[in-house]
């Protein structure tokens, strides 16, 4: 969180809520009229938060009870095509079951916002924290923002509608946060007043689609022509490219209105004078900040690069941020099978091609299946990073937390 001076600061109500409750408050403040959800740990409680708000008259919305995540995303596509702002949430197997309409949502350019309480993919039957679920669908055309704590869930969900509905973007957006650690955990959250959010986020008025029966258009008709599909994909890629600019702009505007912002595509924490850099996403950044502070006390010039936008992938911004650093260690709470490395690690390496003075990049696989990423594991990662910076031979990928076993 980066504090911003504002002329007329927005009044916030200070409270403590779970990550999912924070998302529900964002939905309420964004006046989302069409909602659905299907229970799956650790996302389940979003349903009772939303129906509770509707029941108490705090939110004027329709919640469609669903028989599956597949149906949930299908409701969202239908309602969004017809003109509704829409929100839902899922995780893990639910996301996997939703994959078919998930892809359709992005390729039909419907600006659905979906929270992801990230968890491990089965098997063995783990439902505990990991980023494997959402990382696996990275090429399905959604904007994917990774956030760290409950406050950022609330703020980013509000921003997500503005990004998704931006005429230059028109893409669905995932707000991804760690299952349990954030989704089920109660923490301090400041909830802005409705008027401020109304000023920041205007109502959704689609201009790119209409289901007016008189129009006689066909949505998603049979594409015999490869040319047509090429045009769709090119336009989609341009929307993704525009999203880089829009994510930064929306973040800055958010800061001006609400008094803090998050850095847009990425956040640099004590990075400017750092020699060694930790690169990671979502909740791991919280522990990493504490680790950076401790290392600084020991005189070690360690910094943190928090990747907020994974899709679009801010390759140029990462290249610039890491220019001239001695070594960068990427902590991935996911695994790209066949690479033997984490996805952020492999993509960062691709992004650094062409850099004048790229850092030595090493990767760490950590925290799969909810295994806690402890301070000891960070110490070990820093040790590898220091040796890499000193030009010593180190493995490209180190698995943290299973040294004893392997």
């Amino acid at each position: 969180m980066i504090v911003v001076e504002t002329r007329a600061p927005v009044r916030h109500k200070v409270t403590a809520v779970t990550g999912l409750e924070a998302a529900a408050h964002a939905v309420r403040l964004a006046r989302v009229p069409m909602l659905s959800g299907y229970p799956i740990t650790p996302q389940t409680y979003i349903i009772e938060y939303l129906t509770g708000m509707i029941d108490r008259g705090e939110l004027d919305a329709t919640f469609i009870p669903a028989e599956s995540e597949h149906a949930v995303m299908s409701f969202m596509i239908g309602a969004s095509l017809a003109g509704s702002r829409t929100f839902t949430a899922t995780t893990g197997q639910g996301l996997a079951y939703m994959y078919e309409p998930y892809f359709l949502a992005s390729t039909l350019r419907v600006p659905v916002v979906m929270a992801i309480a990230m968890r491990e993919m089965i098997g063995p039957s783990s439902g505990f924290p990991s980023h494997q679920d959402i990382i696996t669908v990275r090429d399905a055309g959604w904007v994917q923002l990774y956030v760290e704590d409950n406050q950022e869930v609330l703020d980013t969900t509000i921003m997500a509608f503005k990004i998704a509905e931006h005429p230059d973007v028109l893409l669905p957006v995932n707000v991804c946060f760690d299952g349990f650690y954030v989704s089920y955990s109660t923490a301090r959250v400041e909830i802005p007043e409705q008027a401020a959010v109304d000023g920041f986020l205007p109502p959704y008025r689609p201009t790119h689609i209409s289901l007016d029966p008189q129009l006689g258009i066909c949505v998603n008709n049979v594409a015999i022509s490869g040319q047509l599909v090429m045009e769709y994909r090119h336009s989609h890629a341009q929307g993704m490219e525009s999203a880089k600019r829009v994510i930064n702009e929306v973040d800055e505007e958010f800061g001006r209105v609400f008094g803090w912002r998050y850095g847009g595509l990425l956040e640099k924490y004590r990075l400017d004078d750092a020699d060694l850099v930790l690169v990671t996403m979502a909740g791991i950044c919280g522990t990493a900040r504490a680790v950076v502070d401790q290392a600084r006390e020991r005189g070690l010039k360690l910094g943190l690069l928090k990747l907020r936008s994974f899709r679009p992938f801010p390759a140029a911004e990462l290249r610039q941020a890491l220019e001239g650093k001695a070594a960068a260690g990427v902590i991935d709470r996911n695994l790209s099978f066949g690479w033997g490395a984490g996805v952020v690690h492999t993509e960062l390496r691709a992004a650094l091609l062409g850099a004048a003075h790229p850092p030595h990049v090493v990767g760490f696989i950590a925290g799969l299946g909810g295994l806690e990423i402890t301070l000891d594991q960070f110490d070990r990662a820093i040790d590898v990073l220091q040796r890499a910076a000193a030009g010593q031979s180190v493995p490209q990928v180190t698995w943290l937390g299973m040294e004893g076993g392997k």
Binding site: P33, M34, T62, I64, P65, A66, E67, S68, H70, A71, S74, F75, M76, I77, G78, A79, S80, L81, A82, G83, S84, E100, P101, L104, S210, L211, D212, P213, Q214, L215, G216, I217, C218, V219, N220, N221, V222, A223, I224, S225, L228
Partner: protein, 319 residues
């Protein structure tokens, strides 16, 4: 004189033709909402069904076409739409739930627009059964029409769970070890009618357009729940039959009780085409190449199943 005993042709002229003509005459001034041409096979009854259906339902309609033959036939290719009304082509797996999302938006914003799902049996009875059943249980106010051609005909006529027992398909061909479809096929219309959220369920056939038309008109009146109509749709290529034969087959399916015509309003069943005498099922099988391999034993088994189901239906209608 007992009209039912008249020779077939005479009976048809006296009893059916006037009703049929009346139905078409009533639609004379109604706009055909399909665009010219169709991407379906020669002789396919689907084109007739589709044009007729939307002529009755009218312009104030958003159509959701499940993938398959209807998509190929009328969703439109590339930049040319296949219908004069707005159409959405969903995935095979979610026609009912996508339609739900659209209808819920119209309901919230106070727009009285018909949302009509028009979808084949592979999608309805198999791939999206959970979606259709859940929408029915919730009583979503959509008109769901399943055209049942008893197979995934668009991919080459593989069997679905509505395919009639014994039909030769690539899934179970007629040969030394396979003897066509080994199971009897589910009664999807009855299954749907038993959902409490379905305010109106019916079967329909283009051999009886006046009957189908009356059912579509009832469907338009329903505002408090889901409508499910299951329409018989013989497949020229998949079933192996002549291109001028599909309406005859449709008629024979009704006359043999293989595809009885009925409706259920809020669970109250009624046979809309009541037969004093029904023909044996083998009369129907004779018209279709895909059944030519059937043994006498198989025909007997199918007849027993047809009789059993008709018994159930009559019991429901009598209750």
């Amino acid at each position: 004189m007992n009209l039912k005993r008249l020779p077939r042709k005479v009976g048809w002229l006296l009893l059916e033709k006037p009703k049929l003509e009346k139905a078409y005459k009533e639609l004379k001034d109604r706009e055909d909402l399909g665009t010219p041409g169709s991407g379906n096979c020669l002789g396919c009854v689907l084109e007739k069904t589709l044009r007729f259906t939307f002529q009755v339902l009218g312009r104030n309609t958003v159509a959701v076409f499940g993938g398959g033959c209807v998509a190929i036939g009328f969703a439109g290719y590339d930049r040319s739409p296949g219908m004069k009304i707005t159409t959405v082509l969903p995935l095979l797996t979610h026609t009912a739930s996508l339609s739900t999302g659209i209808k819920r938006h119209f309901q919230r914003t106070g727009q009285d627009v018909n949302v009509v799902a028009f979808c084949g049996d592979g999608s309805t009875a198999d791939l999206s059964l959970a979606s259709v059943s859940a929408a029915a249980e919730r009583g979503e106010n959509i008109i769901y029409i399943c055209y049942d051609n008893q197979g995934t005909q668009n991919t080459g006529a593989q069997a679905t769970t509505t395919t009639t027992y014994g039909l030769a398909t690539p899934t179970a061909p007629a040969g030394a070890r396979y003897h066509g479809k080994a199971s009897f096929g589910k009664d999807m219309a009855l299954l749907m009618a038993l959902h409490p959220g379905v305010s109106y369920a019916a079967t329909g056939s283009m051999a009886y357009p006046y009957d189908y038309k009356a059912k579509l008109e009832k469907a338009l009146e329903v505002k408090d729940g889901m409508v499910y109509i299951h329409v018989f749709s013989p497949c020229v290529s998949g079933w192996d039959t002549a291109t001028d034969n599909t309406l005859t087959i449709s008629r024979m399916a009704v006359e043999t009780n293989l595809f009885p015509l009925w409706e259920a309003e809020h669970g109250k069943f009624r046979l809309t085409k009541s037969l004093t005498f029904h023909k044996p099922v083998r009369e129907y099988l004779k018209l279709i190449g895909g059944f030519s391999h059937l043994s006498g034993r198989q025909i007997d088994e199918l007849q027993r199943e047809v009789d059993k189901r008709m018994g159930h239906l009559k019991a429901l209608a009598a209750s």
